[in-house]
Symmetry: C2
Subunit: 299 residues, 2 copies
């Protein structure tokens, strides 16, 4: 069976894995990334790490997932908060020359989308829209196991979709951007506004909602409606077969998800109702999806 | 040069044309469709019409554009207000058997998208989002000269995107659906509310705006903002290279379009600014796009 190398490059750690065609992780290695020491240093780390994988020489290709907007054509990072010294560095050129293997790069959410679309919850469906609800909200469209990057690598920047123009402005995102209203960060902020510093994270608000606290239920109900508005906008653009939903906030799915889906189904045409929601199922969609980059490009 | 047959089937007329690979219409014929006489009657009309085209036997394939949601896989109409007796009829099977040629069908907006993406204003761009602003608002995503139909043929039903949850409910569309707030029909309704029956269509409101009537300018300003909200939602989903904009309401582009674009550019990330707007340029995008269906599938 063919094998591929998937790399997850973050601001703190680099992880590399050998993955087979069926998405099984055969070996995984990890090291700190130390991005403050510069691009060359991070590249050396990554190369060392890959060379620690048994039989890396036989792998068919290398795929890398990196946070932030990525120039997939030229193999570079466009913008990065965690890896600023790597912006513009020819990552793909450097790695592909060293290993003499086909090498690809994409945004971490897009490679996770590819992982879920090829081997996870979206496996059976042609049009998959992956949504991750975590600190932020992001996503990506996959059609026939290929992921849309967009002209500027910004396809799937759905956290910036405005779901209500009558909200406050918080940061560079739009007024009423769904990420500022329904992400983990947003629910934590709203929880603190009502309950004070007893709220440490979104899970605390969900726990109060489970205990039928009315104010917590109100926060959750608004979150469900806001998310439904976002899902509805996406659906009218691309009418997917499935929404695959992942991210840490899904730990509270028992509290908000059914409400969200009910609101959502009232916001789409009758003919669009066959769409289904699935929870993301891969434990490591990022690293598996990264490994799928060379597979879906070569095959 | 290869030639293809494009058919535009509407509630009033059927038109068929012979189109070459470069999108030149070599011959066009037309007849009434008389859909009240049933599906078999309309099929006979269509066949007669195609057989009136000189050299139809040598054409490589047949493509048909039809209003409403289309099942492109099974070659049938799903829902239709103008052609109710054709719903569910195996149109593609019937026509392909008769002519023994590859035959394809899609929604009229989607074939127009294909026409503009292959041969019109979107020709130079990989990711094209076509938007038509007319009686209604619709659109479609084209990637590498292929159009996305969606699971249910509803991809591009962007008229139902909610751009403001604090509006009135008018019909089956969502509260604040952009089609109910910024289409030709919507601008006519808003014009009548302010100016009474002197307003016959959206163009009358645009004319008053040209004369600097403050109330007309207010309608137009709201329209521009509402459209910007819709374009922004689409852009965050798929980050296109170009928006190609057509439809009768573009006759008033001098009044609303620059405002719209300015609002829009404030609603997207810095990295997404390279996106451009182009006006749809084909005189007959529907019939040319229909003829492109067999070309883009065969080639």
């Amino acid at each position: 069976m063919k094998t591929f190398i998937g790399v997850d490059l973050g601001g703190t750690n680099i992880r590399a894995a050998k993955v087979d065609e069926e998405g099984n992780i055969l070996q995984m290695v990890k090291d700190v990334s130390e991005p403050d020491k510069g691009a060359e240093h991070v590249m050396s780390k990554m190369i060392e790490l890959i060379e620690r994988i048994d039989g890396y020489e036989e792998c068919e290709g290398i795929g890398m997932g990196i946070p932030g907007p990525i120039d997939t054509i030229h193999g570079k990072i466009i913008v990065s908060t965690n890896l600023p010294k790597l912006v513009g560095y020819p990552i793909v050129e450097h790695i592909s020359k060293h290993f003499n293997k086909p090498t690809f790069i994409d945004n971490d959410v897009k490679v996770a989308t590819l992982g879920e679309a090829c081997l996870g919850a979206g496996k059976e469906y042609p049009i998959v829209y992956y949504v991750t609800i975590s600190t932020g909200i992001g996503g990506a469209l996959s059609i026939d196991k290929k992921v849309l990057s967009g002209q500027n690598g910004h396809a799937g920047e759905i956290g910036n979709i405005c779901i209500d123009r009558n909200r406050n402005k918080y940061n560079i995102l739009n007024v009423g951007a769904v990420e500022n209203e329904a992400s983990g960060t947003a629910i934590t902020r709203k929880g603190k506004e009502v309950f004070g510093d007893t709220i440490q994270h979104a899970g605390d608000v969900f726990e109060l909602a489970r205990q039928k606290d009315e104010k917590a239920l109100e926060i959750v109900d608004n979150m469900a409606y806001d998310l439904a508005m976002m899902f509805s906008a996406i659906a009218h653009v691309c009418d997917p077969h499935v929404f695959v939903v992942g991210g840490g906030v899904m730990k509270g799915k028992d509290v908000f998800f059914d409400k969200m889906e009910k609101y959502y189904r009232d916001m789409i045409h009758v003919g669009m109702q066959p769409v289904v929601f699935k929870e993301a199922m891969l434990e490591e969609p990022g690293i598996i999806g990264a490994a799928m980059l060379p597979m879906t490009k070569i095959a």
